[in-house]
């Protein structure tokens, strides 16, 4: 159960609407930026930052993560770590390959 009780929720709807508007705006921004045709590394960085902000808003506000319990934070931090390993390590192993074959 989250912090807001039975009747109080109606008074606490503000943040939800604010996030909704922010998400739509950030979507427009990310599409707009793509038309600037920035160089690859910069384009990726900007796009991922905007996506992370949007995702953060959804998680913190819509999913109530900002007021969640410690157990959930612990599970998510562990998951984030393993996700980082899964993303980074296989790709790191491709950098020193000398076979020259694409994708290996």
């Amino acid at each position: 159960m989250d912090a807001a009780s039975h009747e109080d929720v109606s008074k606490h709807m503000g943040p939800y609407y604010a996030v909704f508007v922010a998400l739509l705006c950030l979507t427009a921004v990310t599409v707009g930026v793509s038309y600037l045709h920035l160089n690859r590394p910069l384009a990726i960085t900007v796009a991922l930052i905007i996506a992370s902000v949007k995702a953060g808003l959804v998680a913190a506000v819509f999913m109530h993560l900002i007021s969640e319990k410690k157990v959930i934070y612990a599970v998510l931090i562990l998951t984030a770590l393993f996700f980082a390993f899964l993303l980074a390590l296989p790709n790191l192993t491709t950098f020193e390959h000398h076979s020259g074959m694409p994708g290996t």
Binding site: A51, V58, V71, T94
Partner: protein
């Protein structure tokens, strides 16, 4: 033999502060992070290994339909706020309001799928199947699995909208928890798309 009563189905556990269902759904979402994480990792590995991306040349935004993708992003974002409103209606004690907002959520989910249907059939019409090259393979795999998750969400939300809502009469608190948990899943599906859209369409 009557059903065994399991503690903390509705009331939160005194130490963790969680009811069982909410804990369960967050654990499920963690496994989903690893699932989509594996897909993103694969996308990166395949893309890094490709001399060109898309392999045929040009830009992703020229191969995929950015306006449709943007529209779908807005559709999912809107479905997330309607999902919040559905839950809030339960918290505020109104079943009719819940049904309206949950109905809107399900409707928007269908809109998303219809747009994807048009996107997919356009590709197929031009003989661009997943086998065409790895750009298409990755696109169909990632959006396809995401789409299956949307279908799953539609099934759960429709259940809560119909037979599931009978629980409102006997145990509204339990029902509200279920709506919140369904909402967590739904927001997660939105969250995945928030990363999928730029990764596939814009970069």
């Amino acid at each position: 033999m009557s059903e065994t009563v399991i503690p903390y189905m509705v009331k939160p556990h005194p130490v963790t502060g969680l009811p069982n269902g909410k804990f369960g759904i967050w654990l499920f979402l963690s496994s989903e992070v690893m699932l989509f994480g594996a897909l993103f990792s694969s996308y990166v590995l395949i893309r890094i290994g490709a001399p060109h991306w898309p392999p045929e040349g040009g830009l992703s935004s020229e191969v995929l339909n950015v306006p449709l993708g943007t529209f779908n992003t807005a559709v999912l974002i809107t479905s997330s706020i309607t999902m919040v409103l559905a839950w809030a209606s339960c918290k505020m004690g109104s079943l009719p309001r819940f049904k309206m907002w949950m109905g809107a959520t399900v409707f928007l989910a269908f809109v998303f799928l219809v747009v994807k249907y048009f996107e997919y059939s356009d590709k197929f019409h031009h003989d661009h199947f997943p086998s065409h090259d790895n750009f298409y393979a990755v696109y169909f795999l990632l959006t396809g699995l995401h789409g299956l998750h949307i279908v799953g969400g539609i099934i759960v939300n429709t259940f809560l909208l119909t037979w599931g809502s009978r629980m409102w009469k006997t145990d509204p608190e339990h029902f509200t928890n279920r709506v919140e948990n369904a909402g967590l899943y739904w927001h997660f599906v939105d969250l995945v798309w928030i990363f999928l859209f730029p990764s596939l369409y814009l970069l």
